[in-house]
Symmetry: C2
């Protein structure tokens, strides 16, 4: 089979041109005579790779100078521990907005380390919407407020202009599934973290963007790998970083930059998502599961009006090279994850298949 | 420049045929129409990759059925915390053999979590030898004894038949820089861990091989990523694993298997190292820095009798495509890391250069 259209929720589709570069450079990176995988992380050539990768991300997200960028291991799951261990220190309190499975996991982990309060949750309706909050909902003594900006499973998201009003509190965001998908203002956040495997690169590297003044609060007795200060002081080289994954992220950042940056790709993403949602809404055959106002640009969950057809839908789509469309078990139905690297042609092919399938099964 | 001979201590040289396969499969893994980087870790095809990778390692190291194999993130450095958090639980005591920088770091980290005693150390002579211990040196109440089987910086190692006699105590080994280099008996160890970036694959995945009965001792309040039980119960899929790094390890394991397994590569490694040590010893120009009986098969540190020539040596070698030969600052001189993937031709080219350099500078 030729390249499929891969609607996987993550790890997920990467830009073809990025993969081509990686393939071409695998045995000999830019004439240096070795693979990026084989380079000492202390070598000049790798230092250039990691610093240019960081600089690309800084440019794309307009990261202010008073924010550190870290490349860590352990995924968002390790951040669920690292954030409270480092930031929930003054009053041992943090407030959580529960908009899905991952936000929930972050809160459950934070409970181990302090008073992790659920301020609002959309669990009552299978996380199909973003709960509305007001400033007074948050404790003035909270060390931070934690949100998840995009909910992969449920297909909802918090828009850049619709962040909860937390006043002077520090806002921490798990942005794993929509980082770089449209413009967020980094200044709105105290700390952003994101596993790479949706919009940035392969699994195995997690990006942390954090305000410098938050570094250095962790107690001495925590595992050293979990202390942001250790990584920040060492420029993400406390121990051997996941070098190849960082290199791949760098290639993806360059690809976004060439497309015109985050603003440009944000517009493409809005068009892609709109096209798919419009078709679903007008089909009379399929139905979106998330509240319209809160619909994600990255993950589009939908069902058939006749649920019995869903297994068949997924199976037939698979054969047509439209793969990984099965919805998460907690929502059912289908889910099309249409991250940055999903081309418009993929959306068009999906809609065409959906039309054909609807016609055949009406 | 064509491919260099890369004597880096890690990340380090990988087999050319492995890199060729990775390059070829980058855009389309075995006709599935996507890169391994793009696969859902929950997909059947990736599940096949991770389970066949584990099975290859089990075959190569003859890992008994009562040992679990885990693929984790965070490097050996995270294991420095995980091992005590999980295993130093009964008596809160562990005994350490300090044979170099990394063994030292493991002990320093364990101090945070209990009574981490240094039983013997070779610090007095810049870790140039392996201290001799006897069974009575270890506390009968120690929850485990920790060793590092190969000392990358100092070029010493603990031979498979020369492990410290710890009686009934559990032996834990950091095997990062010589795993799969020759046959060790897994039954001699309670737990083995190794970062991949020397003998197995790219940085970003750490292999843990542990006896099953040791799992489940960690207290509930530790960060969940640091609990072996969570990873063991989930088959290394508690969260998204470093999928591509695991795939690369699998390719390296297959490569070793084709060469005849660990026994066969162990013989090759002994020949390679012997050739280089013999030349050094007979040169009258260079000198090895580690005690002869304890010399590593993986890392060969040496100096020039005339130290002033060393910078020139490294610089000229670099130009000849013999790279990353500069020794660690704590030892000085040169170091040739000659891991599994360093071909005999690389050793021959190095010796030839060393001969020429000696002739020109005698």
């Amino acid at each position: 089979m030729d390249r499929i259209y891969n609607f996987s929720a993550g790890p997920s589709v990467l830009p073809v041109s990025v993969l081509e570069t990686a393939s071409k450079e695998m045995l000999n990176y830019k004439g240096y005579g070795l693979s990026v995988m084989e380079m000492s992380h202390r070598s000049t050539v790798f230092e250039e790779i990691i610093s240019s990768t960081e600089n690309s991300l800084r440019k794309l997200m307009q990261i202010p100078d008073n924010y550190k960028v870290l490349f860590l291991q352990g995924g968002a799951s390790l951040q669920f521990s690292m954030v409270p261990l480092n930031l929930m220190q003054k009053n041992k309190q943090a407030d959580f907005l529960i908009t899905g499975n991952w936000a929930n996991k972050a809160q459950q982990e934070a409970v181990k380390f302090g008073d992790a309060k659920i301020v609002a949750s959309s669990k009552d309706k299978t996380y199909s919407y973003i709960p509305v909050t007001k400033k007074s909902d948050f404790r003035k003594t909270a060390d931070y407020v934690h949100i998840c900006t995009n909910n992969t499973i449920y297909g909802t998201y918090i828009k850049p202009n619709d962040l909860p009003d937390v006043g002077d509190l520090d806002l921490v965001a798990d942005m794993s599934s929509n980082i770089l998908s449209e413009e967020y203002n980094v200044n709105d956040f105290a700390l952003i973290y994101a596993g790479a495997q949706k919009n940035m690169g392969p699994a195995g590297v997690t990006v942390v963007i954090m305000r410098e003044d938050l570094i250095g609060q962790a107690p001495d007795n925590i595992p050293n790998y979990l202390d942001y200060k250790i990584h920040a002081d060492a420029g993400s080289m406390f121990n051997t970083p996941p070098c190849y994954s960082i290199y791949m992220c760098g290639l993806v950042y360059q690809w976004i930059d060439k497309l015109g940056g985050v603003k440009a790709i944000g517009e493409i993403n809005k068009e892609k998502a709109q096209k798919l949602y419009d078709y679903i809404d007008n089909s009379g055959f399929y139905k979106g599961t998330a509240r319209k106002e809160d619909r994600s640009l990255m993950n589009v969950p939908f069902v058939c009006e006749n649920q019995e057809l869903e297994a068949q839908f997924v199976e037939e789509a698979e054969k047509e090279g439209l793969q990984n469309l099965k919805g998460h078990r907690s929502v059912g139905g289908m889910r099309a994850s249409i991250y940055n690297a999903m081309p418009t042609e993929g959306i068009d092919a999906l809609i065409k298949f959906m039309q054909d399938f609807a016609k055949r099964n009406k």
